[in-house]
């Protein structure tokens, strides 16, 4: 007992002694140490894998960058790892790759005003903390065009992780793509309430198949939907491209690929050049899309559409209000070109759009603001199935 008190006393003294010798601010042009904090294991098929691929590209691109990683960090524990990366490895930049790390990253950024922080998918910023996101909604729209053209049952399935604005936005964009190619077709939503749950994704897909769906897009970090669809001879769109494509090369028509490296390379270069410092990031918010090459529609790298389905898409004609009669194939590439063009001339959420309950969500001729996009709860008129929090 006494001994325990003595130990506690000693610890108390050690704690009350302040921190010493914290590293200084980064000097532009010198070697840069970057720490990555991942929410999942690198071995997942989706989110964390993609971030880690980007990290490897960054290391290859910049000889002056050294990276450190921590995987599978639980939400709420990120601050301790940030501390470790900074105090033990002396990193200059900390990148946290999950929305759930927002509070910890924010608190750490306040405690280390000389260090630079980058937080994915969040909305809180500081002079030394930027936010970034590579968003898929244009890509899902392109996938939707193909789905609308190729569905025979006029029912397309979407297995979603959570009914949150991010996934709803993607599902809506996908449904608008389907609608553009095939006004008759519906998109049926099914939620599995997990980012990663193979068994759930399997049963959700089977349930959609039982309901007559014959094409599948999804948001879940395993190739399950691709596998199940292929087992039933049905087509799907790979989430995070090449990793999943190999599970059913003949049945993956297209998909979504993300290149976080586009963003990482950009802001790390700017930090190296002294453009971005720990004083001027308050308004730096990357919202990067196809035109910045942060995302791409592809079945596998460099192949937007699986060649097996090119003929069918060329044969399918769409009556577009602006472009007139056009094949689904040409519509896909027209939109792709418009999205990729630095001065984007078309947007999936281009008015007029009326939601399922009849409310006008986008006025004729206008586009949605980024703010409306990231808080989207309504659904497009051709989406059926469960839709929690529908306004």
């Amino acid at each position: 007992m006494k001994r325990a008190l003595v130990v506690l006393g000693v610890l108390a003294v050690m704690i009350s002694v302040g921190m010493v010798g914290l590293a200084d601010a980064y000097v532009p042009g010198t070697p840069l140490k970057v720490g990555f904090i991942y929410v999942g294991p690198i071995g997942d098929y989706g989110w964390t894998y993609a971030h880690n691929e980007a990290r490897l590209i960054v290391e290859d691109t910049f000889p002056w960058v050294e990276t450190f990683i921590v995987e599978s960090v639980a939400e709420g524990q990120e601050e301790a790892f940030i501390d470790q990366l900074i105090q033990e490895f002396d990193v200059d930049v900390v990148i946290t790759t999950s929305f759930g790390f927002m509070n910890g990253t924010y608190a750490a950024a306040q405690r280390y005003p000389d260090k630079i922080f980058a937080h994915a998918s969040g909305f809180m910023r500081l002079p030394n903390m930027l936010t970034y996101m590579a968003d898929f909604y244009q890509v899902y729209y392109l996938n939707g065009i193909i789905a609308g053209a190729l569905t025979e049952t006029n029912k397309v399935g979407y297995v979603g992780a959570f009914p949150i604005p991010e996934v709803k936005r993607h599902l809506n964009a996908f449904a608008l793509g389907v609608q553009a190619a095939n006004p008759e077709a519906e998109v049926q939503a099914s939620w599995i309430y997990e980012w990663f749950n193979p068994a759930g994704a399997k049963e959700a897909t089977e349930a959609l198949i039982a309901d007559g769906c014959d094409m599948f897009a999804f948001t879940e970090d395993s190739p399950t939907v691709v596998q199940v669809a292929a087992d039933n001879g049905l087509l799907s769109f790979a989430h995070y491209g090449s990793q999943m494509y190999q599970f059913a090369p003949d049945y993956v028509v297209s998909g979504q690929a993300v290149h976080w490296d586009a963003i990482y390379v950009d802001f790390l270069q700017k930090i190296y050049d002294g453009v971005y410092t720990a004083q001027n990031l308050q308004n730096v918010d990357y919202w990067w899309l196809m035109s910045q090459d942060a995302v791409a529609a592809e079945a596998q790298p460099g192949v937007p559409i699986n060649p097996l389905y090119v003929d069918a898409l060329k044969a399918y004609m769409v009556d577009d209000p602006v472009l007139g009669m056009i094949s689904a194939y040409d519509l896909f590439y027209t939109r792709l070109a418009q999205f990729s063009n630095p001065g984007v001339t078309f947007d999936p959420f281009q008015g007029p759009i009326v939601d399922r309950t009849g409310v006008v969500r986008v006025e004729e001729g206008s586009w949605l603001s980024v703010d409306s996009l990231i808080t989207m709860e309504w659904r497009v008129s051709n989406v059926v199935g469960s839709w929690p929090n529908e306004p």
Binding site: P41, G43, D44, Y45, Y49, S190, W191, I192, Y193, F196, N197, P198, A199, G200, K202, E203, A204, E206, A207, I209, A210, D211, G212, S222, P223, T224, Q227, V228, Q243, Q246, F247, G385, S386, W387
Partner: protein, 309 residues
């Protein structure tokens, strides 16, 4: 959509998802019937899923994968058997340790198999002729996995052994009253070892079904809590293999329907159902003769040593 196709889809999915639940539950029923609670089901399943995938992937032979997975599950369960039977350590803690170890080992060893497709999974079979019976044919004989049938046959055999043979009498006696069983010449330790081993073998097989048949690939943590549902199921089935069959399919139907009915029923409610039902079942049979006939084995979680207690 016609009601027939609705029924067919629901029931055939129930069979497919219920099979790993059934296999592992049958094993846990035997272990618990002999008085050994094994909370390591999740660990044994995942180690089986990993071993099965690794073997099937490297040899191209899925059945060899199932075989090795079962063996690995069995060997793995012997750790628990040794701790809880020979060392008479606490079964709860030992089972939890087994789960931790299984999740950890499979995660560490399985890293290099992440993201690899399996080109020779267990194929689904269609029984010619029978498959064309209306409704029943498509449910039972069209595109189900061979392990589905094996698990059903196992449930019947294991029920028969438990209730109609001398071995079964010994198992139940060891779980109800080991001292008496011992005095009647039953080797308590041996029966318990055997039953725990059977539990491990079947949990390993269930894991292999997941990684080689149900969703052919290896992913860290792919059993995703199924092992805990098995613990609930064992209770729900009143420790009876045939009721285990009913229970496994009932829980599987709940799981499948949570996706088909999610526009109407909160998914959390359906997910919590197995656990709530298990508690309700325990309450329902907690009194009088029901407790004796349908309740937990009396010596569950109690180590046995001749001359003690």
């Amino acid at each position: 959509m016609s009601w027939e196709s609705w029924v067919i889809a629901t029931f055939s999915r129930t069979l497919a998802y219920g099979t790993p639940l059934l296999l592992a539950t049958l094993g846990e029923i035997y272990a618990e019937r002999a008085g050994v609670l094994n909370l390591g089901v999740e660990g044994m399943m995942i180690i089986g899923a990993f071993a099965g995938f690794a073997v099937a992937h490297n040899t191209g032979n899925p059945w060899l994968g199932v075989l090795i997975a079962s063996a690995v599950g069995g060997v793995f369960s012997l750790i628990h058997a040794f701790a809880s039977i020979t060392l008479r350590a606490n079964q709860v803690v030992s089972g939890l340790a087994l789960t931790m170890l299984g999740l950890g080992l499979s995660g560490v060893l399985g890293r290099r198999f992440e993201g690899m497709p399996l080109f020779h999974p267990l194929k689904e079979v269609t029984v010619p002729g029978l498959a064309s019976i209306p409704i029943l044919g498509p449910i039972l004989f069209d595109g189900q996995n061979l392990l589905v049938y094996i698990s059903i046959v196992l449930a019947v055999i294991m029920w028969y052994v438990l209730y109609r043979t001398r071995i079964g009498v010994s198992i139940r006696a060891v779980g109800e009253d080991p001292a008496t069983a011992d005095s009647l010449g039953v080797n308590v330790a041996r029966v318990r070892y055997l039953c725990v081993f059977v539990g491990g073998v079947l949990a390993g097989m269930a894991g292999a079904y997941l990684s080689i048949a149900y969703r052919p690939s290896w992913t860290d943590g792919m059993t995703a809590g199924m092992g805990w549902i098995v613990i609930a199921l064992t209770i729900f089935a009143f420790w009876n293999p045939l009721l285990g069959l009913v229970g496994a399919y009932f829980f599987a139907a709940l799981f499948h329907l949570s996706f088909r009915l999610q526009a109407w029923v909160a998914p959390e409610l359906l997910k919590a159902m197995p656990y709530a039902l298990a508690i309700l079942v325990l309450i329902a049979v907690s009194r009088g003769t029901l407790q004796k006939r349908m309740g937990a084995p009396s010596a569950l979680t109690l180590p046995y040593r001749r001359g003690e207690e």
